[in-house]
């Protein structure tokens, strides 16, 4: 009898540890279902999936950086830069697509190296380092294009943003799934992933164990920028033109997705699953808000409230700090 109770109790606790992080997502899904019945039609689901793809790709890069205890505000800069580089270097012709892609990746590499270099070599706080490089990237793009970037993205790339797999699933979400799988394997299974976590948790101990935290951190910033470039390519090929409106915007979606999912800003804590969760939640939220058709004000209020509520519901143990728990909490 006793064993039976304890047994079911432990199943319950185990269940709750699995379900707790999902609570926020469930909340959003239920809210969406109740208020907008059309939310679960195939068309809308496809839009959500597309959003998952486009937010998720950048969020993966962001996750890597967050795991090292950093943050990358320059991702949206890398995205905007990509569409400009693609358009300008190819002039819209498929023939030069490869060159355009390579150049975009090179530019992304440069941004990543700049971020990583500032953080590692100069010890600049990541928040400011990447914000400064965002301003710089925007500045370079504006100076280069005279402020009005424009041009065509080669049609040969349009499958990336507009295509569907099996006639239904948007290509971006497939790309995201593949990249997420790769990130999952890298983080959980490879030596590189182990080094990322070790560096994020304790760079000093990692360094003294022969890990080179500098290289790890730079690597993560580079990966983040390169994923930003991929996200930028998806975005550019989605619309097919350079979208000047995106050049100046600071897009916090990738950070929000990772952090809402439970990746800590202090480094080391977080998995690809967290990011996936946060990404889906954000994608549902953004689509739901459009479907809701509420005014701009109400929409912002709802998204702000839902983000805080969802994180609150994620069943973070309301724990009072202990002297033993020396690690700084996310607070």
């Amino acid at each position: 009898m006793t064993t039976a109770t304890t047994g079911s109790a432990s199943v319950l606790t185990r269940l709750s540890t699995v379900l707790a992080p999902l609570a926020g997502l469930v909340l959003v899904l239920v809210l969406a279902a109740v208020t907008t019945p059309q939310m679960y039609t195939p068309d809308v689901v496809r839009i959500v999936l597309f959003q998952v793809g486009i937010i998720g790709i950048a969020a993966l890069g962001q996750t890597l950086v967050l795991l090292t205890g950093g943050i990358d505000l320059s991702i949206s800069g890398a995205m905007a830069m990509t569409s400009v580089v693609l358009a300008v270097t190819t002039g819209g012709s498929d023939g030069r697509l490869v060159a355009g892609v390579l150049l975009s990746l090179a530019a992304g590499l440069a941004v990543g190296l700049l971020n990583g270099g500032l953080v590692v070599l100069r010890g600049v706080p990541p928040f400011v380092a990447t914000f400064a490089s965002l301003v710089l990237v925007q500045g370079v793009v504006i100076a280069w294009t005279g402020g009005a970037p424009s041009g065509r993205i080669p049609a040969g790339l349009s499958w990336l943003g507009q295509g569907r797999v099996l006639g239904q699933v948007p290509v971006p979400v497939v790309v995201f799934a593949l990249l997420a799988l790769a990130a999952l394997v890298v983080l959980e299974r490879t030596t590189a992933g182990r080094r990322v976590y070790a560096t994020g948790f304790n760079p000093d101990a990692a360094r003294l164990s022969g890990v080179r935290p500098g290289l790890v951190v730079v690597g993560c910033y580079v990966a983040s920028s390169l994923l930003g470039v991929v996200a930028g390519m998806v975005n550019a090929s989605y619309i097919g033109y350079v979208d000047a409106a995106l050049v100046r915007s600071l897009n916090l979606d990738s950070i929000a997705a990772a952090v809402i999912g439970g990746v800590a800003l202090t480094g080391g804590r977080g998995r690809v699953g967290n990011t996936l969760l946060g990404t889906v939640m954000l994608a549902v939220l953004l689509t739901w808000l459009i479907q809701l058709g509420a005014g701009a004000g109400a929409r912002l209020v709802v998204s702000g409230a839902v983000i805080v509520l969802a994180v609150f519901m994620q069943g973070r143990p309301v724990r009072i700090p202990r002297i033993t728990a020396r690690e700084k909490d996310t607070t």
Binding site: L118, S133, V259, A298, V301, V308, V311, R322
Partner: protein, 326 residues
């Protein structure tokens, strides 16, 4: 990053003196000084005429107040992304509520400060009582408060009184009145940080929450105080902004949060909390105000402004930021 205290590998003495300067927030002033010298050299009369000085100082007032609040929150180990939206809401409400009635001016100003405090209290409660990460809490508040502002009015609305506009344009010598408000706020925050138990506790909580708690510090009220301070200063900034614009706008303060954080960090304050100097933050504000001024004074090509801004910020942080404790 663990914060257990231990001597680190000692630096070369030359660097140590320099890092002392950085620590006390003096370093950013080196760049400010260099920029002032460069501007004097390039545009002597244009820069030093009282109108331009007034323009620089007045431009610094709103950002300065917001950065001051940010400074306090960051010292406590947090971050406040919602300051820009709080400025937006309070400035919009100032104009909408005053709406040209002189009798309403004072009550509305008081109400805005209270509103700022209330929003700060909400931030602070979510962070310290519900123990949610400040980044998420204040990001959510950023959306929420901007949404409220847009709901109040989607178009520019309301009108402040002549007294308020006059105040925003009044000067004492070359010093604009809004700047004097900033000076007073700096003095008040300095007093709070350097001369009250709460100030000590804030440094302690920012440096190591667990250690502070072990020493008997009440963490919650300290954090609440920090966010409330930030909210109050944002409320004041909102009133100043409304006075300057004479009218309320639902987007007035957008983007201020990033400028404020940048100013704080350029000034040598650690985003990890527990270390920072007010002098540095004020220097950071001065630097950002001067960059804007310099770009116009030097008549740089408009397409180069962001490039220049980015380069100066990178130069400032790369050269002058204290290395992260290892």
């Amino acid at each position: 990053m663990t914060s257990v205290a231990a001597p680190r590998g000692s630096r070369a003495p030359r660097l140590a003196a320099f890092s002392g300067l950085v620590r006390r927030g003096g370093a950013v002033w080196v760049i400010v000084l260099a920029l002032v010298l460069a501007l004097t050299f390039a545009r002597g009369t244009g820069f030093w005429n009282s109108g331009n000085i007034a323009a620089v100082l007045a431009g610094a007032a709103v950002l300065g107040l917001v950065a001051l609040g940010q400074h306090v929150v960051v010292l406590g180990g947090g971050i406040d992304l919602s300051v820009g939206s709080m400025v937006t809401l309070t400035s919009l409400l100032t104009a909408v509520l005053v709406d040209g009635y002189p009798i309403r001016t004072v009550p509305v100003i008081v109400a805005m400060v209270v509103l700022g405090a209330a929003m700060g209290l909400l931030n602070g409660s979510l962070v310290s009582v519900a123990r949610l990460p400040p980044f998420i809490v204040t990001l959510g508040m950023l959306y929420l408060v901007s949404g409220v502002a847009l709901t109040v009015s989607a178009t520019p609305a309301g009108r402040v009184t002549a007294a308020l506009t006059d105040f925003s344009r009044a000067t004492l010598g070359p010093v604009p009145a809004p700047f004097l408000v900033l000076v007073a706020a700096v003095a008040a925050v300095w007093l709070l940080l350097a001369r009250t138990p709460w100030g000590r506790h804030l440094y302690a909580v920012g440096g190591d929450q667990h250690a502070a708690r072990a020493a008997g510090v009440r963490v919650r009220p300290v954090l609440l105080g920090a966010y409330v301070t930030s909210g109050v200063l944002a409320g004041l900034a909102g009133v100043l902004l409304a006075a300057r614009s004479a009218i309320g706008s639902p987007t007035a303060g957008s983007g201020l949060e990033l400028s404020a954080i940048t100013a704080v960090v350029i000034g040598g304050t650690s985003l990890l909390g527990g270390r920072g100097s007010l002098l540095g933050t004020v220097g950071g504000v001065a630097l950002l105000a001067l960059i804007t001024n310099a770009i116009t004074l030097l008549q740089l090509p408009s397409t180069w402004t962001d490039l220049v801004r980015g380069l100066i910020i990178i130069a400032a942080v790369a050269v002058f930021v204290v290395r992260r404790p290892r």
